[in-house]
Symmetry: D2
């Protein structure tokens, strides 16, 4: 077996499209407790209080909700070179751009499902202004004490029409470990959902089957809070502020994440989560496979998985026949 590729450092940022830029910005600043790093034209750049980069979320005005792109940060300049070389040997490569506010040159490519993706190394570490400095200088900026107080970006979840293709491309060209996967059954091992780990968090990216058969859609992006108690408090804050709660709080069977799913005013699904002390430090972790039969048990403590979880993504699509 070939050695695991450890060239990705972490999920870096996500650019979300919203038809309600002001309301979405209100949600991420006042409800989520994030801070604006910059505003330019139709975009607002945001970060959680302990995100170390310039931004982890870019909100851009659009006709409809969805994701414009997401980005990986590479582990080193050489790691970036290796990944770019690998991607360039595929038809999914796009090419280099000059970067954006907060980071340097990025190499763009499409996921096998058409999600615009980029990878870069050069970044601008967030430098707090005096009134943003934390009393503890090992924190990127001070604890906000506002709304949900999310700490850092945690992971991204994408819909895909072809999960197998995404999985094979990701492991083969980007690296990391497939920590968990849903398969139809243990005979065919046909993948329905996949979770990719690139550091010690048990996943930075998940990809699940889009039951509507669409391509390249966004499922959700997740921000981490410091405790499960704060996920419960987040639920109250959303309830009090008219933010639509889709499901939770509850504990996922897969990856054990304690979750709350809500919709930001622009229509994108957002997760607030805590994973307790769970980490995967085993460098040759063996993939955990879950069958569709096992998934019938629902979430960890028995909550049925909500049907919209398999069909509702952004951009919204005409819900023709659901293809299970």
């Amino acid at each position: 077996m070939s050695e695991t590729i450890w060239d990705l450092a972490h999920l870096a940022h996500v650019e979300l499209l919203t038809p309600k830029l002001d309301e979405s910005t209100w949600f991420f600043t006042e409800i989520m407790g994030m801070t604006i790093s910059a505003t330019t034209g139709d975009s607002v750049y945001l970060r959680a209080y302990d995100d170390y980069e310039h931004h982890t979320l870019k909100l851009t005005a659009g006709h409809e909700a969805g994701m414009r792109h997401f980005a990986w940060r590479a582990r080193s300049p050489k790691a970036l070179d290796r990944r770019v070389t690998a991607i360039q040997q595929t038809p999914l490569a796009i090419g280099w751009n000059k970067g954006d506010l907060g980071h340097g040159p990025a190499f763009q490519y499409y996921s096998p499902d058409g999600h615009l993706t980029e990878i870069y190394f050069e970044t601008e570490k967030f430098s707090p202004k005096p009134d943003q400095q934390s009393a503890l200088k090992n924190t990127a900026s001070r604890f906000p004490g506002r709304g949900i107080n999310v700490r850092r970006i945690d992971h991204l979840n994408l819909f895909a029409g072809d999960v197998r293709a995404f999985r094979d491309f990701q492991l083969g060209h980007l690296g990391g470990i497939l920590t968990e996967s849903i398969v139809d059954n243990l005979d065919d091992m046909n993948p329905r959902a996949v979770w990719f780990m690139v550091n010690s968090k048990s996943y930075d990216l998940a990809v699940t089957l889009d039951y509507l058969g669409a391509r390249g859609r966004f499922h959700h992006v997740t921000y981490a809070v410091n405790s499960r108690e704060e996920v419960l408090i987040a639920a109250d804050i959303c309830l009090e502020n008219g933010i639509k709660i889709e499901t939770g709080p509850h504990k996922h069977t897969i990856q054990q994440t304690f979750f709350l799913y809500v919709y930001e005013p622009g229509g994108n699904r957002i997760e607030i989560a805590n994973t307790t002390a769970r980490l995967i430090t085993d460098p040759d972790y063996q993939t955990i496979y879950w069958t569709m039969e096992e998934r019938k048990k629902g979430q960890a403590w028995g909550l049925p998985t909500i049907p919209t979880f398999h069909t509702q993504g952004t951009p919204m699509v005409k819900s023709e026949s659901v293809k299970e």
Copy 2:
């Protein structure tokens, strides 16, 4: 033994004096997460999000920090009559006033140590404006999602020069149960500190010996948060905002309260606390006595009791010789 008197419903409110009214108001609204009910002349009336009365804290501009008065709400009009009758038979009675914003006629008296106190029944239940309403109508107003998010007033702690006199007056004329007490030793049973219960919370009022020998001083007022986790978060919020932390978070041996003591900008000591699921519903609870010898163990998990806890109260007094 005579039957326990259950005529007090709960600690109602505290009026604190502050030489920095604006900064103190900032502290209670932005840091503690409380809301202003009214502002009149030199006073600001505040409440926590689930306080059901008009206010539980009245901040009044003064030359120095301290407490101008505190109030009990009686359990019924008849209970009020009984207590007033009892107090009127002592030299500590002052008389009736017309009430204040938020409550009806109150009968005033001095504690044996000179603390101005009042007792009333008629009150104005807080009626939230539309933008203050909670999504759950069994909550007095909506969860703020701001700062420490204190839920309700919990208890008051006073310094006294003569703890025994305070204790005997309180139990004899106001009622309730002495749930815990520090005594010099089990031979003389000379009280150093006393905790009074009037409902099912294990105390609404505590009185401790003022080692500086002053009379009628204020020690602290406590607001409750929903979990110990939020006391920890409160510590971070205070740290990040330059609020002086005196001691904690830690667990008190006596009453088991999980505490954090800070100073509001005006100089008064404030406690943020959670008592987990502890309640005392035993109607003939026997007082727990702690000796000075036992108190040497410090707080529950071993934190030494901070020396200022015995001397620093408001108003500040010249710290002559400390009398232990």
Copy 3:
């Protein structure tokens, strides 16, 4: 309006019938973390670590699951006399018995729905053996560090065929406050469920409509843990030990209790709960009414109320047509 009667101190204990006495005992000791106070013939007496009485749960072998009786402790001997006198004027009175292990003479009566109930004052305060003593002498016995670590009995929930009759009897003859109630609608105010407060906990007893139209059934008994985090841990412990989880963890809209419902091996529903810092100290609290229309929203964060909540009680009854 007449003054509120405050003669009940608290829910004292519940006697549950179980066809699997050994397994039920295992559940309450090893999973819930309770301790056996005594075993006599077909009964096992148990208490949570901070229950101050001899027992709060009596498990008795029976042909089927259900509740044999439950008990109130009165606030004083005189309060007991007043309540007995009031009950004796109704056809529901049974008469005095000599008491049981752990408490003195009790007066028995039936609820209007036929639940066997008793009320007493004289009790045996739990006196821990040396190896049961807590390091903090204001705790009834030491924290177990075993299973769910429930702290104290919290409340009882009963099914009733006639909720209105139960409510009127309870308020008229036992006292307390009706803190919340579900009614069909605000026009007829026909009660579907009622919550009674007798101290500062927002309820010690709840009674809900039995959709199967049976009389005198048991719904659940609740034990409190110190934090919501421990309710989450309880869910994991139940999951790991094959204890059937019915619903939760989630937050109730009514009373805001953070709940987990499970079934003990004998078939009775048990709740593990935490109510954060919520207390009702308002002595003239006005009942909160919820309509069936409002109840369609489900629990606080949107979890649908599980249908079995309206039909499954013990003893089990043949589920004929469900009468809503």
Copy 4:
């Protein structure tokens, strides 16, 4: 600047010596909630419920407390080769052994301070027996519901007589990132304490100056629990069971760990900790330096650092003059 070496996967295990093997074993199983994997001669092998290897702690009977050795797991066989090659070029190399229960061949070496260390790749993943299996197959074994319920080994802290030598050897030959460091002052940058990161946890190893000037001593090993709430519960469990608490619970300024330090019956210091959602995923994280002047502020919320933290390690040494 050379690229960071990412060849270590994680701290693997620690072998502690104890003069009271039975009592130490009781502590780790009944109080910490760990499980015995194997017992051989004078050694007991233990693991926390989500440790994926055969053991993370080996207790060995000895005349006095202390650490016999500790181990790193390498990220891959090639990574192991690279590290062994690097170490072999130093006088600290010892050589290969055949491994131990639970892992394959290990290469041994001394730290510059004389701590016996080993590094290996081949390991035996823990395979639970049926009654040890978790209901969630992504958990190494089931949640114990016993005592403190530690989840996984977190980090190791060693005393060193020469911190600089340890630091330079570790970064140069083992790799990872120096995430934080205490220095005398910013002029001389003389290191007093160092924290090494090898994955996304902010540290797996810390080394601090031994004020007694001894060489090669053990400071503490840390196990992680899932929440800060469980650190508080751990404090209660230790209090109730006569386990000596040295300091905490409180939040460290450095690394922000929420900590509790206790002594196991054999005399070794053990930490129970939670780090909330903090991770370092930045692959070129810049070391945070703290001066001795800054350290005077104590821990995060003001708790003074306990003096024994600088002198008490195992094995105990005659406390001659303390050398600051």
